[in-house]
Symmetry: C2
Subunit: 321 residues, 2 copies
């Protein structure tokens, strides 16, 4: 194994992913644990949390650190929130995609200094915040990029990020993933759903089409009820209702962005592959050029932020991942 030049952590709400990088920014080893801040924070008050985070860090990569105690440690995600290890103050946009690397928060740990990547904030009448996605954005926007780009990061809280000349100029959050889960588990819509053997993308597309139809003007609070009524009249199988609902919500999200009129091509998507594929379908249904699904954005972003921060030296002009 090559000498590690960076240990990067993607430390979120429900999981902790650890990456070991070589001197060219290649990931040479990675691990994932269920040690998100929610699990650790459940262990108690601030001193208790501190001990919990120490243990989680040790379990995730204590052996890597022991093998090379001087290797820098860089973490992004909710570990930098008020409920995390230490709050890393947001960087205000507009800001370069490299800006978080110049504003790291440091925590002294039993295993050395942990550097935490700050999130981004957009102030204004409706503030917007992100933590973790700023690192993925840094991983998607190439060092020499110019012009406009849109980056979609679907998930529990989907983010849509506008980038111009490598600067984040705006972003919007949609609680699509979390609302979908709450509707399925905690409203009448879930009561008639049955699990599907495999994803029903026809049902998904049908939901997207409804959101984009004249009926979609009623908005998501109204159209979601059709997941139930179509079932009542025998026009939507119980096994198809969840995917139909997924299409409705994602369709409304894309339709709202269409109405905003801020789109710029190209559109990149970052996240779970199956979920990105759903967004790509919804974007295509709205007439957008095929969206590019960007791989390993978090790893790339951790490396680039480490380079921007001077924690890692860039051996090549750009990591060849």
């Amino acid at each position: 194994v090559a000498t590690p030049h960076l240990i990067g952590l993607d430390w979120g709400t429900t999981s902790l992913r650890a990456y070991r990088f070589d001197g060219s920014g290649q990931v040479i080893e990675s691990r994932q644990q269920r040690a998100g801040i929610l699990q650790v924070a459940a262990e108690g008050d601030a001193p208790g949390r501190h001990d919990g985070f120490e243990r989680a860090l040790d379990q995730a990569c204590g052996d890597w650190i022991s093998a090379d105690p001087a290797c820098p440690l860089l973490a992004c995600g909710m570990i930098g929130s008020a409920q995390g290890w230490r709050e890393a103050p947001y960087v205000e946009i507009p800001a370069s995609v490299d800006a978080p690397g110049h504003a790291l928060t440091r925590v002294a740990t039993a295993r050395g200094t942990l550097h935490i990547v700050p999130g981004l904030i957009a102030r204004g009448p409706l503030p917007e915040v992100m933590r973790g996605e700023e690192t993925q954005v840094a991983g998607v926007v190439e060092p020499a990029a110019t012009g406009d780009a849109w980056i979609g990061l679907p998930g529990t809280h989907a983010k849509w990020v506008r980038v111009r000349d490598r600067r984040v100029v705006g972003f919007h959050t949609f609680m699509t993933g979390e609302v979908f889960a709450a509707l399925c588990a905690h409203t009448i819509l879930g009561r008639t759903m049955r699990p599907a053997a495999e994803p029903d993308l026809d049902a998904f597309d049908r939901g997207v089409a409804v959101a984009r139809s004249p009926d979609g003007r009623l908005g998501v609070l109204s159209t979601v009820f059709s997941a139930r009524t179509l079932g009542l009249v025998g026009a939507l199988a119980a096994e198809a209702q969840a995917d139909y609902l997924s299409g409705l919500l994602i369709g409304h999200e894309v339709a709202a962005l269409d109405q905003l009129g801020e789109w710029r091509e190209p559109i990149s998507l970052v996240g779970d592959a199956a979920l990105c594929e759903r967004y790509r379908r919804a974007l295509a249904a709205s007439g957008h050029a095929p969206a590019v699904i960007a791989a390993r954005a978090t790893e790339r972003g951790l490396w680039r932020i480490a380079v921007a921060a001077g924690l890692a030296a860039e051996a090549a002009s750009s990591p060849a991942m």
Copy 2:
């Protein structure tokens, strides 16, 4: 006590309300019990449910029936659903507000025949259904009414009903109440909320204003996140977040109806008084004439449907309630 001429039941998902009417359609006694179909259906399979409904009926008004065994029994609400005592097939719209009275479903009970009011259905690409609200609509629309009217029935599943010349010509459902409850109890938005000593209508109005603002174009999946971010930046107290969210959702509901362009004045509101007042504020913020809050719509509707069905004789030209 005057001789009862009708026993009316509003038998919904979570509660059972019983009304005893005199010969002029006046309610002379009423009761409420937690014996909704969810509680009773929990008792088991179809025969078990039948016994459960018999017991609930007996507890609610067995003494009234014993005192006058010939008194007709009429029930509206989810008792007529597939999960109720017997399914009462929907009446298809457009239909007169009296039409449900001509399509009652009968159940033989130990205490005589129970007549169940059917709900309404609008067929089409996105079917719409109601059960219970058709009775409230019958109670709001006066026997001699002509022309257009809109009736809003806020609640778990808010309904907006278009009436023309005493015929229901269309309606829309918004899952506003249930979505609000799910967002508060089962998403990140609830985690920063604290209970308020009393309703914060300023926070409610603020939510309505955001939904109607240019930011509102992002849709409810996006704007709801501001309940959290405004709290994060210290611009919305924890105690105000639930009312702000309520304003956002109701504001989006009214804005969607505005965009539909089907409104006709006058607008009547039926339901919980405090909730109707919230809708009245949201409608006023959209420039609508003051909405009329209609009282005792269910009782009036049960009586009128009984008269239309020939179960009760109309002593006066119109019940003077």
